[in-house]
C-alpha cells in the first residue's frame, strides 16, 4: 500500500533562517566580486601557475559533482528499489542533486580564463573527443532530468517518478564516470588510470550519502519535524559503510598498481610518500575519510547511534574533499619524466616538483559558489514543499 507523505514549506521567519540566508547571499556576492576582479586582472591572482594550471576551483567542482550522487542514493531507494519509507527524502534529494550540479558548473565556469566566451564557444565548436565537451552535456542533462524528476515528485506522478528516477541513476553513473575521465584520459602519470572513474564514482556515492545524512538530520532538527532514527541508521550502516569499503578497495588497487610497476613506481611513491599531499592521502582520505568512519559505522554501538552516524558522515565529507584535491593537484605538481632516468635541475620554467598555494580570491570564489547554492536551498525550502512533515520507518507498512 502506498504511503501518504505530507510535504510542507518551511515557515522561514525565524532569526536563524533569515541570518543564514543573509550570510549565504553575502558569500555569493563576495564570490561574484572575486571572480570579477580575477577576470579583470588575470588568473595570476589565483594560486595557479603554468605548472599547476588547475587548482581549488576544479577540485571543488568535482567535489560538488560527486556530492550530487546523494540523489542517486536516495532517489534510487524510493524510485528504483521501491523502499517507500525513503519517499519523504526524495524531493529534497532531487533538489540538492540539482543544486550540486549547478555548483559544479559554476565552479568550472568561474575558473575559465575567458568567462565571456563560455556561453558561446562551447556550443558553436563542440569537440566530441574532449571530456570538457562531453561533461557539460552530461551535467546539464543531469540537471534537466533532476528538474523533470522533481516535477514528477511534486505532482505525485507515479510512473513518471519511476522512469525518471531510474534515468537519474543511470545518468548519474555517466556523469561521475565522465568526471573521473577528465583526468583518467590524459597522459599524465598520476592521472592516467582506468580505475580513476570507478574510484570517482565510489567516492561520489560515499560523499553523497554522507552529505544527505547530514542535511536530513540538520533539516529535521532545525524545523522540529520528526525523523525516525532507523532511517538514518540504515543509510549509515547499509549504504555509506558499503560505499566506503568500495572506495577504499579501489583506491588501494589503484595506488598499489602504480607503485608496483617500474614504469610508474617513482610517480606512485611520490603520491604516497612524497610531500604534504601524502599526509592528505593517509590522514585525510584514508584514516579520516575511509577507515575511521567505516569502523564507526560497522561497530554496533556507534553504528546504531544517530549522533555517531552524523559524526562518521562528517568525516566522510571531509575525507572526500581531500580525495578531490588529491585527484587534481599532485598529478600536476609531479613533473613529467621527459627523459627517463633524468631529472630537470635548472630551467626557465618552474620545473621539478612544484608547489600550489590557494589564494584568498580562490577561497572567496569557492565560498561564493557555496553561497549561491546554499541560498537557493534555503529559499527553495520556503517556496516549495520540499521537506516532509515527518519521516517514519514504520509508517504505512
Amino acid at each position: 500500500m502506498a504511503m501518504d507523505v505530507e510535504f510542507a514549506k518551511i515557515e522561514g521567519r525565524s532569526v536563524p533562517y533569515l541570518t543564514s540566508v543573509g550570510v549565504l547571499a553575502a558569500l555569493a556576492v563576495g564570490g561574484f566580486a572575486a571572480t570579477l576582479i580575477m577576470h579583470e586582472h588575470g588568473l595570476y591572482l589565483s594560486g595557479m601557475t603554468n605548472r599547476v594550471p588547475w587548482g581549488l576551483q576544479i577540485a571543488m567542482a568535482i567535489f560538488y559533482i560527486g556530492l550530487s550522487a546523494g540523489s542517486l542514493v536516495v532517489s534510487g531507494l524510493y524510485g528504483v528499489f521501491g523502499r517507500m519509507e525513503y519517499k519523504p527524502f526524495a524531493r529534497i534529494a532531487a533538489y540538492l542533486a540539482m543544486l550540486f550540479l549547478i555548483a559544479g558548473l559554476l565552479s568550472i565556469l568561474t575558473d575559465q580564463g575567458r568567462v565571456d566566451r563560455v556561453f558561446t564557444k562551447p556550443f558553436t565548436y563542440v569537440n566530441a573527443t574532449s571530456m570538457f565537451s562531453i561533461n557539460p552535456a552530461l551535467y546539464s542533462g543531469h540537471i534537466m532530468i533532476c528538474v523533470l524528476y522533481l516535477w514528477a515528485l511534486f505532482k505525485e506522478k507515479g510512473t513518471l517518478t519511476k522512469i525518471t528516477s531510474l534515468v537519474v541513476v543511470i545518468w548519474a553513473i555517466g556523469t561521475h564516470t565522465g568526471t573521473g575521465a577528465i583526468f583518467a584520459f590524459v597522459p599524465r602519470e598520476l592521472y592516467n588510470s582506468a580505475l580513476l572513474p570507478p574510484s570517482f564514482v565510489a567516492a561520489a556515492l560515499s560523499s553523497g550519502a554522507a552529505l544527505m545524512i547530514l542535511v536530513l538530520v540538520t533539516l529535521f532538527k532545525a524545523t522540529g519535524r520528526h525523523l525516525d532514527d532507523h532511517l538514518i541508521i540504515w543509510m549509515g550502516r547499509r549504504l555509506l559503510s558499503i560505499f566506503l569499503v568500495v572506495t577504499f578497495y579501489v583506491l588501494l588497487i589503484e595506488n598499489a598498481h602504480r607503485a608496483y610497476l617500474a614504469a610508474s613506481h617513482e610517480a606512485g611513491m611520490f603520491f604516497l610518500f612524497g610531500g604534504i599531499h601524502s599526509f592528505m592521502f593517509w590522514i585525510g582520505l584514508i584514516c579520516v575519510g575511509c577507515v575511521i568512519p567505516a569502523i564507526l559505522l560497522f561497530i554496533k554501538r556507534t553504528g546504531t547511534s544517530v549522533r555517531w552516524t552524523v559524526f562518521a558522515s562528517t568525516l566522510v565529507v571531509v575525507g572526500v574533499l581531500f580525495e578531490r584535491f588529491l585527484i587534481v593537484v599532485p598529478g600536476l605538481v609531479h613533473p613529467p619524466e621527459l627523459l627517463p632516468g633524468w631529472e630537470v635541475t635548472d630551467a626557465a620554467l618552474w620545473e621539478g616538483v612544484v608547489g600550489y598555494s590557494i589564494s584568498y580570491l580562490e577561497v572567496l570564489q569557492t565560498l561564493g559558489v557555496i553561497g549561491v547554492i546554499g541560498f537557493m536551498f534555503m529559499v527553495g525550502l520556503r517556496i516549495m514543499p520540499l521537506a516532509p512533515k515527518e519521516a517514519r520507518a514504520a509508517a504505512g507498512a
Binding site: 603554468n50 580564463g113 575567458r114 566530441a128 613529467p336 631529472e343 630551467a347
Partner: protein, 246 residues
Amino acid sequence: MDRRDFLRTGGALVAGVSGALSLPALSSCTSQEAQSATVLSGKKWGMVVDLTRCREGCTACMDACRTENNVAYHGDKRWDIHWIRRATLEPKEESAGLEEKSLLLMCNQCDDPPCAQVCPVQATYKREDGIVMVDHHRCIGCRYCMIACPYNARFFNFKENPEWPNPEYPRRSHGVAESCHFCAHLLDGGGRPACVEACEATGARALIFGNLQDPASEVAQLVAGGSAKRLREDWGTKPKVYYLGL
C-alpha cells in the same frame, strides 16, 4: 576502427545531446579548415635539434621567438611563457660517464596531439601540414590542454603581456592558452621559424627545420639517419621535433 576514431565516435554520441542544440553553427566551423587543407597538403613540418651544436649560454633562439611572437615575460617563473626554453637535466642516479645535459624544450608538434584532443572548443587544432595551432579568439581559457600536454609545453596568459615588440604579430588577451606553432605565420609567407633563423645567424646551426615528407630535405635525411630521437616516444604522441645527441 583505431583509437582516435573510437574516441570520436563514442564522444560524438554523448556530445550529441548538447550538439543537437547547435547543429547549424557546427557545420560552419569545418569549411575554414577545409580551405586551408588544399594549400597546406603535401607538407609535414618538422624540426631537428642538434644538441651537439647547441651552444651553452646562447639564448638567440629564445630571444628571437619572444620578440617575433610577442611571448610574455614577467620575470616570474610562475607566469612567464616560453615557447622554447632551455632545461638542464641531471641523471637521477650516479652512473659512470653520465654528465648533465642541456636541452631545448618546445612544443613537440605531436602528430597525435593530446592538447587538441581535449580542447572543448577546437581552439587548439592540428593543421593539414601537422602544425598544432591555437586560435586565441576561440580559446575559453579552460587550460585543459595544459593538463593534457605531457611535455608541459603549453602556457597560459595568467597576466596581461607587458610588451608587444612585434606589431605584425597579433596580440592576445590574458586568459588564453598558447604554445609554439613553428612560426606558422612566417611559414605561410614562405619564411622559416624565427628561432631557426636566429640560430643560423649565430653560425651554430643547431636547429634544422623543414618538410619531413620531402625526402630531399635535411630534416628528413637526419631523421632517416636513425640517430635522431624524440622525447618519450612511448607516449604515442608522435612528436615532430627530433633530437640529435640526446
